[in-house]
Amino acid sequence: MPLIKNGCVVDNEWTFIDDSTDPDGTGLVTVSLPRYLQDVTHERTRNVTLGVRLTPSDDPDLLLPHLDHLPLIEIEFPKYTDGRGYSLAQILRRRHGYTGELRAVGHVLRDQILYMNRSGFDAFETARADLSQVLEALSEHSAYYQPAADGHPTVFARRHLRPD
């Protein structure tokens, strides 16, 4: 599935391995949160670079000890109307200061990408929007009232920064 990151189409080097499959060999893999917490300190993972895939009901605080060396966190949107992933992203970025890749996977559509980006996602795995559509979606607004993980200054603040 196409992957768009930081405004470019990029190759997806990562593979998600579900809990019933044994991670063998080497490479870049994402696993579920329970498996990540179990495997991250495990011998078998030595030749594997681990990322994690969160489901909407996961507790992102459990990743706190690992965030410094996590290269990728995927957050799954089982249905685009399930908005829990936005909160997980905001917590990881704004509360816990996570700086690695934060990727939206699952039911990712053009018209949700702006909110996803504001909430902290920098990568979108989607078959339903091409690069030009994603870029268009990201440019639909020039001002935002509330702070979010994108770090954009709020309208509340910008109003008082103007040199009057």
């Binding site: 908005g83 829990r84 909160s87 509340f156």
Partner: protein, 552 residues
């Protein structure tokens, strides 16, 4: 009232362009209906029984003449010459074509209006006291904080796909006219040791499972309000149920989690906020927004008006309208007046283009350009000099807008029902009209006094039947419409959910049953000064239930 600066204007303009693109992608098939649905809903576009319906936001129910005239223009050009004011202080147009909606939004944006988040599973239009800024019993004008909440909640990226819709109401008055205890979040502005803060109620609501809100916090200082709201919203967004839309409102989360545990979750989330996460609303910004709501420049006047008293003595109908539709103002010599949109036999909340234009003109001439929409689906001119009331009345009367029934038995909240809505089980409008006819005699209604009858055509409760002193709920029995009566509901500071009285009645039985309830009240009240709801609470429901079924 609040005026847009360049940021507000840009945000609304960009939204119009964005939605225009979404509509064109829907019309060319790029966007599937299932994908388009939440997008159109977040712009107030519903697919109703007969056509698309557009719900336009009227933030905290405030309009000015230019806005109201624009609504009239839209009703004339794109609808059938009228608009329908709603229980959330908004306005709906029932016959707008989808392809025209971007142009309607464009037109609205020119007068600083929009349809943003008037539907969908997001934070909806914030509602408030329709007498805000004029009421004697408020600790401050609640509108500045409504506006701050409006801005904060507009396109909030984290809370656009909540488990379900989310409604916030704000009051600053002892007499709660904003029904805050039946909202997802109800805020009551309090003053403590010279500081402004918010008493926070959470988890109230109507619908299938009516719940009176739980008090979550006695006093959240004003500077912390938005951060505290963020904490509540995040707890709800993460933990609210998404498996069943009828169990997805925050009231169910609060009920199932338990109030204490819910409070602990919010407190924990709030305590976990880092400085970097705080909204840090600059004091200068709080002050800037408050400045827009400075009281109008009202000339000092004596408390009594000779002009008014002379006119009252000469015209009993005017005298009645003054008795019934006038609300005291904080400044002597002025009043707030209700323009009833509940004429006998009319459609609750409907106004024609001509009526909208009359109200706009009168607000300019006599009302300091201020117009409010009430949650009971009427209009209010909050600041009118007593001296101007006779002239105002004459013009209203000429436009069919001088019905003297504010808060009386014929001033009912009535949902559109089966005549318009694809959720309804039964018609609401004809039932309301039948009841109005029963009590059409103005002396009779005035003798009955304050009494709220609310009518919903289905259990979604858009007609607020749970909180009517007398509630009427339409139900479907094998293709036939029946109506269930409940007693004792109220939406004010003593909020309560009504109790179902017994078996449902046929449409023909309803008006007489209501009349028997009310005549029982008139027999049993201690005096005409004891309102229906007080008599009901004093005596219990039994005599009134017996009255309903006395014809059996």
């Amino acid at each position: 009232m609040y005026r847009y600066d360049e940021f507000d204007a840009a945000i609304v303009r960009e939204r119009v362009d964005q939605f225009r693109g979404q509509v064109s992608r829907r019309l060319d098939g790029t966007l599937l209906e299932d994908e388009f649905k939440p997008l159109r809903l977040q712009n107030g576009v519903y697919l109703q029984l007969h056509a698309y319906m557009l719900r336009v936001a009227i933030p905290y129910g405030q309009l000015d003449p230019a806005k109201l005239r624009r609504l009239a223009d839209i009703a004339e050009r794109y609808d059938r010459g009228y608009g329908h004011f709603t229980t959330r202080q908004n306005i709906q147009f029932n016959w707008v074509g989808l392809k025209d909606i971007p142009d309607v939004l464009q037109s609205l944006s020119e007068v600083e209006m929009h349809a943003i988040q008037t539907s969908g599973n997001c934070i909806r239009n914030v509602t408030s006291d329709h007498f805000a800024g004029a009421a004697q019993d408020e600790v401050m004008d609640p509108r500045p904080w409504c506006e701050i909440i409006r801005q904060w909640s507009t396109f909030h990226p984290e809370f656009a796909f909540l488990p379900r819709k989310f409604k916030i109401a704000v009051t600053a008055a002892e007499d709660d006219r904003a029904a805050i205890r039946v909202h997802d979040i109800g805020l009551h502005i309090r003053r403590r040791d010279g500081q402004i803060g918010f008493e926070v109620h959470v988890g109230g609501g109507q619908g299938r499972t009516p719940v009176i809100a739980t008090k979550l916090n006695d006093f959240v200082p004003e500077t912390e309000l938005l951060d505290y709201l963020e904490a509540i919203m995040r707890v709800y967004n993460r933990f609210g149920r998404r498996d069943n839309k009828y169990k997805a409102r925050i009231k169910i989360l609060v009920t199932e989690t338990g109030a204490d545990e819910f409070r602990r979750l919010v407190d924990t989330e709030y305590a976990a906020q880092t400085d970097a996460e705080k909204i840090a609303l600059p004091q200068a910004e709080i002050d800037r927004i408050h400045a827009y709501f400075a009281p109008p420049d009202l000339t000092r006047k004596p408390a009594r008006s000779q002009i008014l008293e002379t006119a009252q003595a000469a015209n009993p109908a005017f005298q009645r309208w003054i008795r019934v539709n006038l609300h005291p103002h904080k400044q002597a010599g002025y009043a707030s007046i209700t323009i009833s949109l509940k004429p006998i036999g009319g459609l609750a909340g409907d106004a024609t283009t001509a009526q909208m234009r009359v109200v706009a003109k009168l607000a300019e001439e006599y009302g300091h350009d201020d117009i409010r929409v009430t949650h009971a689906q009427n209009l209010v001119l909050p600041h009118v000099a007593l001296d101007d009331l006779p002239a105002l009345y004459a013009d209203l009367d000429g436009a069919g807008l001088a019905t003297a029934n504010e808060g009386l038995v014929t001033d009912m909240i009535v949902c559109p029902g089966l005549d318009y809505c694809n959720l309804a089980n039964a018609r609401s409008i004809p039932i309301g009209q039948d009841i109005q006819q029963t009590f059409a005699d103005p002396d009779y209604q005035e003798d009955i006094g304050r009494l709220h009858i609310n009518i919903s055509g289905c259990i979604n409760a858009c007609g607020h039947h749970h909180v009517g002193h007398i509630g009427i709920l339409g139900v479907d029995r094998k293709g036939e419409e029946f109506y269930q009566i409940s007693l004792g509901g109220r939406a004010d500071h003593h909020a309560a959910i009504g109790d179902i009285a017994g078996r449902a009645l046929s449409r023909e039985e309803v008006p007489d049953a209501i009349k028997r309830i009310i005549d029982t009240y008139r027999d049993l009240r201690t005096s005409a000064a004891e309102p229906f709801i007080e008599t009901l609470n004093r005596l219990g429901h039994t005599p009134f239930k017996e009255a309903i079924y006395a014809a059996d």
